[in-house]
Subunit: 69 residues, 2 copies
Amino acid sequence: MITQSYQVKGMTCGHCVNAVSTEVGALPGVTEVTVDLASGAVTVTSNDPVDPEQLRAAVDEAGYELVAS
Amino acid sequence: MITQSYQVKGMTCGHCVNAVSTEVGALPGVTEVTVDLASGAVTVTSNDPVDPEQLRAAVDEAGYELVAS
């Protein structure tokens, strides 16, 4: 299991949290996504390392922005 | 056609707008709902007067608060 945290910009409510969780949770190998709305922290648990470009695309698809780390 | 405006508290993003529009739009006789996110103004067009209690319940169901007018 790999757990990694990312920063996502633009989430303002529970619907935003759901949108990001759904898109990121659909990535290959991802087993859990938790989002802290107040800080914008998105914590992703996966079996294998997540492709950063796929992650960025998933966050973008949900309508938000992955902050460059 | 009757058009009336209401004030709704707590909407923060487009998802919130959709949630309110969907719930209020499902009320009997309602033909159109427009929401101004910045001001919280919800404008409802209907064939017949909308029951204030049904409106309040719909906004509540969406997860927001109708400001007492």
